[in-house]
């Protein structure tokens, strides 16, 4: 559980990523979208404004995933910003997963992050999501769908461009 102080102004509290407490607070949750650190935020990372984005993301992601699995109606887990999709478990059976705003070939800065275009990203994500042998489709398993969406890079929210869906296919 998150080490939190609900009313605290303690500065250390500001450094915590969201963890299972957020999921526990929403027992009817069906869909969770986490906005990972954006690769374009690297300049902030260099200046120390962003604290250990990869490490924080990795630990928070694992905890969030496990917490969501326990919710009866939960079926959709989205990740914004592709590069951090690999931080998540490689066997998300029954989960929907979305890539993020770094996928666009129209995004010139993507090349700076060594992302050569949408196909490469899709291949990488599919590889990341391949079910393990023991998790092939069976009773109680849902299809794994991969939806790649384009986000509004300014507002960092899929809801602003919720209908702009680039790809959807089964893995």
């Amino acid at each position: 559980m998150i080490q939190r102080s609900i009313e605290s102004q303690d500065e250390s509290d500001d450094l915590l990523p969201p963890t299972s407490g957020f999921v526990a607070a929403c027992p009817r949750l069906t869909e969770l979208t986490v906005i990972s650190p954006h690769p374009h935020d690297s300049h902030r990372r260099e200046t120390g404004a962003l604290t250990d984005p990869v490490g924080s993301a990795r630990s928070a992601a694992s905890e969030l995933v496990n917490a969501c699995k326990a919710l009866p109606d939960f079926d959709t887990f989205q990740i914004a910003h592709f590069p951090f999709v690999t931080l998540f478990p490689k066997c998300p059976c029954g989960w929907f997963l979305c890539g993020g705003s770094s996928i666009g070939t129209r995004e010139p800065r993507a090349e700076q992050n060594q992302i050569s275009g949408i196909k490469a990203v899709k291949d990488s994500v599919i590889d990341c999501l391949k079910p393990k042998a023991e998790c092939q489709e069976g009773e109680g398993r849902k299809k794994i769908m991969l939806r790649i969406i384009e986000l509004d890079s300014e507002r960092r929210s899929p809801y602003y461009l919720g209908s702009v869906k680039v790809e959807e296919y089964e893995v």
């Binding site: 939190r4 009313e7 500001d14 990523p17 957020f22 607070a25 986490v34 990972s36 809801y159």
Partner: protein
Amino acid sequence: MTLNLTQKDSAIPMFVKCLESLPNLHTLEIVRAGASATSPLKDALKRVKLPQINTLIIPPTAHPLLRPCRNVEDVVCVVRYGIISSGEFLGSLEFNRGSKVKRLVIPLVFWANPSRE
């Protein structure tokens, strides 16, 4: 609805009254709210109920809005810059026991940068 809370002292109480007078308002988006707006917002929302709102798109600093919106199903925590308190945001999220939130968008990593909002 889009609102920019820049003149918090005078605008926030008026803003809350406005919300109460709009029974058909279902989506509220706060474009920007500095850290200094959080406390006045919290004060102004005491004893206020906004059951008509089902979608909140707010920066973390506007987390007190989660409390009167007991029927909210969609919560988008919009992050740009500034200090974000995960604990305070979570506290407001937990305020309504048996929360009806179905869709939640949150940043995976919170920032430790001085507020630039």
